[in-house]
Amino acid sequence: MKKRKITFSGGIMLFMPVVFIYLFSTWPSYEFYKPDESQLLVSLKKRTEKSHLCDEKEREAFMEEIASKPKHMQVVHRECGSRGRVPLELKIWLDGKESLTKVIKPAGLRSDGVVFVYEKFTFQSGPHDIKITMRDFKDDPNMKVHVFQEHIDFQPRKVTLVTYTPESDALLIHN
């Protein structure tokens, strides 16, 4: 019985895709960031203020309304005021130059979730002045403005992460 065999040249040709894999599985390499680049990363989440808070009168009316309802309709967790929350205004200055101004809406269809921030800036490593301000975007002169202002020596190929924690209620560098 004649048995078919792959010829030598056929074997070589079958090896050709393997050469293709040999080459392109690692080559050419690609440089995503240059050796002298650094990155400032601002990543945080924050629960902003409600867009409407009840005053004393409204609260009383609200409580009366709740009490007037049958017991099974008195929603325990319902709060006075609007459900939605205000957006967050974020401003970033790099070396005194305003690099970002953004008003970010809270998550959720009714804007009742938290505000997520993820912004990154890549630049030459070395010392840089960074200023970040963050405030709930509400027409209220007493609204607290969180300010982060530092002169940072950015190391080559390092990421400096600025974040916010409710515990500290401040913008700070994540270590």
Partner: protein, 548 residues
């Protein structure tokens, strides 16, 4: 029956008209023709090197399965030693790569390189089916599922590159999360999962690992649907090809073992890394062109949608006007008066278009044949497969085929007609360009008028009983001329014709037929002169055989 016979009488005139008007049949849409010629040329070269029986281009689908099994088997081994936590993932992969006295490294390399091979083979397979016009009409399911398999395999590869948690994984996860963040899935940007090292949780690793394990199950389902409308799908390549591919992967794994880059550190930027271009090249393109995730997704979506819709975008040429086939390719019909509900037609169908259903006409048979028009390729296999003449296409059934052959070998009553041919050739309309090859009425071979001709959609429509009938009515020889190997548009090669193990020639799967008087020629469309020569030689042979 009378109407059918009239149709037979009229057919040559119609065919002659068509030939004069249109010259040659045009089966392939014009947009595919240059690629089709190139493909035929490349396949011909591969046939020369490998022989058609071992040409890997004919087994790309089954090679895909082979590479998938290699990736799956090696992946199961790697999973046994892989630790699903951000702290230990890198070290566990390093242990397999360097600590397991090399064999873990080889298996890891086999896993990676078979996955790379999978991507190459799938793309070549896709190019092949596209330019050979095997993606439209009754093949649209295979095209759409094949198109779905590509991104799924890519996603599988990307999840795989996440698992070693090295610098490549870091780059991949950030780039991928940027793209996913543009989808309206979650309000939280997915990049935040990779904001710092502590943000990467064991839960994320658990999800990625099980995604990497679950996606192959999805791939198997897609592969099943991909092959669903094909009867007898070829899912195992010949052993010679299997062993050569496995040897090639093993050699590659030994020569260049797959290794990890440095460990991931989200506090640092990824510098220069070695990229697996088959899976991660797309991220490099996005980074180089500075495409934001949304743009990448949009343009990727546009290209991909266009790609999936190709079977409906590329239209059929007006083939019935151009066709010179004696048997027209039109809807197949089943005559229930003759149908006995046997499975012959069903077994002959390459695309599972012929099914047996419960008998509806009250006859004393359990089943009856029924055609699913959307699956039917109009190849005509079932027409002659039906021993009872119940299946017909354009008025042609077993009886009319036999009548046609009888007419070819019957002298004209007044004695003034053409001479009786010595042999008859059943020629597949698609096998090569028949322009100038036949006489004007398409009834004889132009250079060997001794040979009568019947042009059919595919040689699968020639049954052993038709060949026997040719001999009964006086044919000295019968030639069945079709496409070479797996070039056959209707996948006929796996049914009636097979390769003799004795001498490598093609034979019918019926032993009662005299092999010396039957010649099956599976031809290359590039060798028309050779076909002429072979026809001439065979005709001479049978003439001399009869004389002696």
């Amino acid at each position: 029956m009378e109407a059918e016979r009239d149709h037979v009488k009229e057919m040559p005139k119609e065919v002659a008209k068509a030939v004069k008007a249109k010259k040659a049949p045009k089966y392939i849409p014009w947009i595919l023709r240059p690629g089709n010629y190139a493909l035929v040329f490349v396949q011909e070269k591969f046939n020369w090197v490998f022989t058609p029986q071992l040409n890997p281009l004919y087994f790309l689908g089954s090679i895909t399965f082979l590479l998938f099994w290699v990736a799956l088997a090696s992946g199961i081994y790697l999973f046994l030693f892989y630790e699903i936590t951000p702290e230990k993932a890198y070290s566990s992969v390093q242990y397999m790569t360097e600590g397991q006295k090399y064999y873990g490294g080889i298996i890891r390399s086999l896993h990676r390189y078979s996955s790379d091979g999978l991507m190459i083979v799938i793309i070549v397979h896709m190019i092949q089916v596209f330019f050979s016009d095997r993606f439209r009409k009754y093949r649209w399911v295979a095209w759409v599922t094949g198109a779905a398999i590509i991104p799924v395999i890519w996603f599988e590869g990307v999840t795989g590159y996440f698992l070693p948690w090295d610098e490549v994984a870091q780059m991949t996860s950030i780039a991928m999360s940027q793209i996913i963040s543009t989808l309206p899935i979650s309000a939280e940007p997915m990049e935040r999962l990779f904001a710092h090292n502590d943000a990467v949780t064991p839960l994320l690793f658990f999800i990625m690992t099980y995604l990497h394990l679950a996606v192959p199950c999805l791939l198997l389902i897609l592969a099943w649907v991909h092959c669903m409308r094909i009867s007898m799908p070829l899912i195992t390549p010949p052993p010679q090809i299997t062993y050569t591919i496995l040897a090639a992967l093993l050699v590659l794994s030994l020569v260049k073992p797959a290794v990890s880059a440095g460990p991931a550190d989200l506090g640092s930027l990824v510098g220069e890394v070695n990229i697996d271009w088959f899976y991660l090249g797309v991220f490099v393109v996005f980074d180089y062109l500075d495409l934001a995730g949304g743009h990448a997704l949009f343009w990727g979506g546009v290209v991909y949608t266009g790609f999936i819709l190709l079977p409906w975008v590329i239209r059929d040429p007006k083939r019935h006007e151009d066709s010179i086939a004696t048997v027209p390719q039109v809807d197949v019909r089943v005559d229930l008066e003759k149908c006995k509900g046997c499975p012959l037609c069903q077994q002959s169908c390459p695309f599972e278009a012929m099914i047996l259903v419960n008998r509806k006409d009250g006859k004393n048979y359990d089943t009856q044949a029924e055609v699913i028009p959307a699956h039917c390729s109009q190849c005509g296999f079932c027409v002659n497969a039906c021993e009872f003449g119940a299946v017909s296409m354009g008025g042609w059934n077993k009886g009319t085929f036999h009548d046609f052959v009888t007419k070819v070998f019957t002298p004209a009553p007044d004695g003034n007609g053409e001479s009786i041919p010595t042999s008859i050739a059943f020629i597949c309309e698609r096998s090569f360009n028949l322009e100038g090859f036949l006489t004007d009425d398409c009834m004889r071979v132009a250079t060997t008028p001794d040979v009568g001709v019947m042009v059919i959609p595919c040689i699968g429509a020639v049954s052993p009983s038709l060949v026997e009938h040719c001999f009964e009515v006086g044919a000295k020889g019968v030639m069945v001329i079709g496409c070479r190997g797996l070039d056959c548009h209707y996948r006929e090669e796996r049914r009636r014709v097979h390769i003799s193990k004795e001498d490598g020639s093609h034979k019918f799967m019926v032993e009662s037929i005299d092999d010396n008087r039957l010649r099956i020629m599976l031809v290359s469309p590039l060798q028309i002169e050779k076909i002429r020569q072979e026809i001439d030689e065979f005709n001479e042979e049978v003439k001399q055989g009869v004389a002696s």
